[in-house]
Subunit: 298 residues, 4 copies
Amino acid sequence: MSYIPFKGVIAYPVTPFDDKENVDIPLFKKQVERLVSAGAHGIAPLGSTGVLPYLNDAEKEAVTEATIQQVGGRVPTLVGVSNLTTANTVYHAQFAEKAGATAVMIIPMSYWKLTDDEIVKHYDTVASKISIPIMAYNNPATGGVDMSPALLKRLLQIPNITMIKESTGDIQRMYYLRKELGDDVAFFNGSNPLALAAFSAGANGWCTAAPNLIPDLNIALYNAVQENDMEKAKAIFYQQVDLLKFIVAKGLPRSIKAGLDLLGIGGGNFKSPLKPLNENEIAELDNILSAVGSKAMA
Amino acid sequence: MSYIPFKGVIAYPVTPFDDKENVDIPLFKKQVERLVSAGAHGIAPLGSTGVLPYLNDAEKEAVTEATIQQVGGRVPTLVGVSNLTTANTVYHAQFAEKAGATAVMIIPMSYWKLTDDEIVKHYDTVASKISIPIMAYNNPATGGVDMSPALLKRLLQIPNITMIKESTGDIQRMYYLRKELGDDVAFFNGSNPLALAAFSAGANGWCTAAPNLIPDLNIALYNAVQENDMEKAKAIFYQQVDLLKFIVAKGLPRSIKAGLDLLGIGGGNFKSPLKPLNENEIAELDNILSAVGSKAMA
Amino acid sequence: MSYIPFKGVIAYPVTPFDDKENVDIPLFKKQVERLVSAGAHGIAPLGSTGVLPYLNDAEKEAVTEATIQQVGGRVPTLVGVSNLTTANTVYHAQFAEKAGATAVMIIPMSYWKLTDDEIVKHYDTVASKISIPIMAYNNPATGGVDMSPALLKRLLQIPNITMIKESTGDIQRMYYLRKELGDDVAFFNGSNPLALAAFSAGANGWCTAAPNLIPDLNIALYNAVQENDMEKAKAIFYQQVDLLKFIVAKGLPRSIKAGLDLLGIGGGNFKSPLKPLNENEIAELDNILSAVGSKAMA
Amino acid sequence: MSYIPFKGVIAYPVTPFDDKENVDIPLFKKQVERLVSAGAHGIAPLGSTGVLPYLNDAEKEAVTEATIQQVGGRVPTLVGVSNLTTANTVYHAQFAEKAGATAVMIIPMSYWKLTDDEIVKHYDTVASKISIPIMAYNNPATGGVDMSPALLKRLLQIPNITMIKESTGDIQRMYYLRKELGDDVAFFNGSNPLALAAFSAGANGWCTAAPNLIPDLNIALYNAVQENDMEKAKAIFYQQVDLLKFIVAKGLPRSIKAGLDLLGIGGGNFKSPLKPLNENEIAELDNILSAVGSKAMA
């Protein structure tokens, strides 16, 4: 049987920098601790939220180790190891496994659009070099490649690729994915505004940066779904939809860091060319956070 | 209080033609009777499924009268009266009201892309000439205009525009619509593959041609939602999603007529240039219908 | 040999209405006379600029007859006869032929997306009922169907389909069209901002509403191309590109009528729901017209 | 006065690898020598064709030095130094300057979509650290950011940003760019199938990988434009358009390397996950090359 170590709300931390644009590991650990304490069901460093592609090797390794150390086995960890080249992806996947990651997440990043055969070969090479499970991640908006349900079906034949993360933002894709792949495939939703629709479509989990700001609401949505209470799930979802829309529209690293600053936790600095939200955007986020009551809860 | 005469599954009949491309009214009445008998909560002639834009005035009027006569007040009727010009829209809206329609549906058809002010003026003119409620219909794929939530909000200030039908196929639009328009606005889903997601988002009803082929499954989905049973709704939805996908992909008039032929009810002919599905497509539809068991039920 | 009655600048008149939304035939004739006098190489009533789809049968017939009467054989005429149904397209094509049109233009209008076979059958039926040449018109933005080069090749096998009008706005399409169809196929550009690129790609002519406002510049561009003077063509093109961009961005009927008003010729009223440009837009157009000197020339 | 060191045909070499996926510098030098000998007016290593984003720092530096050494000042060099982070872009820009590059090309690569202010700051920081000119490169398809004419205008106010490379594939963009930026701005076309249209629009040069395969035809097109002979330019363009279309459709590194193999020069291997064209594609390219006569010329 395939090993699927995740379910529920998988939280994506940001990567905070100090004023010299070096990773601020102590602040990162503090942020991770808060996610675990709040009840997140998994921790996923070095995703898009964690600005993976902007980091050098040493930074990626430091973040990986800090995560695993801070989480301390309380929940599973899912480390992003995607890279343009196959060789570098193998390198980081092996590092993550050795450091103790529960699983790795891989998106077929592309500058030159990859063919299906190139993608299969890429995953197959990486999979053959590690023993932990892989979550294949489809997000054409960031990765530049749109993996069809048929291609994902091919990938799932590689033994340790056991999970799919789908982030096209189109709920219909999730329906056809499940029809194509069968009822027992593990798929995860990576599009925040689709959280309710994806759970009602049968998603195993929700990969999201939102728990940095509103962990209670995110987890309450999952619980309502587990209780099969559609009305309650809908009510909880509409409480948070404005925030989910905002963080996607403004970019996850910028909006999550601004929110962490507003909550008094501290989001840390950015690596250039990325810059913080402007004042108007921060004021808008402050209003949204106040409306959902998360400033009181923080 | 605004008058909202619809909820549940609103069924869209096709318009059948004879071999001289004249509307076949007896067959149309037979199809409508079947929809009402099967439990549809409303009947909506002269929609896209009913190839409204291809009909001349006499044909539109005959279909309107045949619907109202056959339904006989058992369920409410929603008559499509959209036209490129405001004058013709007024003409058909007044005809529908006089014939006894419960409400009319209007999409701002556009050859030349309309401005927001033009759209508001168009609806306002029509609304001022009739007393029955109007459902404003947003479907950029067919109408060529995408009405923003802000524009729909303006339209809802016109007294007898009381309902919104949203058919962009993007569930996120429905969330933002409800947030923008308030909890008690009546919005209806016009995208078949979004049926489950839209109900879980709070849609009042589902405007669909699917009940021509699988009325029991469509109504069962609505009932599961009313019972607040998410698991049951999901299971029923996945039973029908292949059919919903097929009829949208192949075009509603073509696929519904082919299905009615397969079910032994008879779909009628087409008006040129529209032609029937080809043999391979019909065989594919036959397989899908057999899989959902609707041939046994018909 | 196929008969190709057009080349150069084919001018598209608007359809002016009076204050009761009836077609203003005297003003229409005045506008047509001005186009012919200014040197346009052909006149094409009932195009998109002439709001064909908004007119009833009587209006279409009146405009057709008025055009042929006013032009009086000085230049060839190209009458738009497109309609959603094949039967109505035949009707109007036959009317145009009988009235004395040189050729007809047909776009496969679609509410329901047509298959290639449906499109071929549609053209074939119309072509078999008339003897004058047909220009097949590809414009997915208004017609809703994008005819591939392969499909256009099929259409050109119908004897009296002798010309292609291409309006996707993508110059690459024109290159591949010519490669697919051969050097001697007659293709015409329907995208105003592509006027220079299309002539440099070998287009036989330019279908445009711009001569209503700047006929001298439009014709000068064609002449520079005929003289094989690329530098001169470029200079003349850049003199008019702001106007070409404006009329496309704001909609041809609205912007041409506003321009005719500014030039003192008179554009006439609109048929609802279409409305005039707003004041700011008219002021912007006035500036552009002044910059190109057309107000002095009018 | 701003310094604009380029015009004409700027040739982009591939980056060849050996069978261990290390850069094959001797083969690279051979390929560069051929481009210079064939008459290319400039050499641009480390572009998209040169798979810049897939290379590590040592590889980038080796390619930069090999180019400058092999070119030996016979034509100007334009070195790609784009990077996701500002710090790395500065590093490579400074390396290129020190190594003797004539200018650098920079596209604002983005994983997270950059704001206009972030882009300006990014360019400004890099520009302040070097003295050689910068070509700002707009290519939303690969870079993920579409820089508006207004933003490009802001960038041109930075003293050593003196050139724009435009690769949206939309010729209209080039017209509006020139209107916005003024007649004397230096803009270069980066879209192969637009070569003719761009020159007729006034482009200073053509940034292209095609000279690896058909240098004579590429240069002949530029010469015909210089001679103001539109008919000749058109004829030469249509001779090469099939090849230009092919290399863009199949990906520049794959198709150029396959072509170099077919021509007997040798294209070198790929870095995974990129793989060679398949057999059918190679056969198609062989046919196209034979048709344009380049195999005889090579």
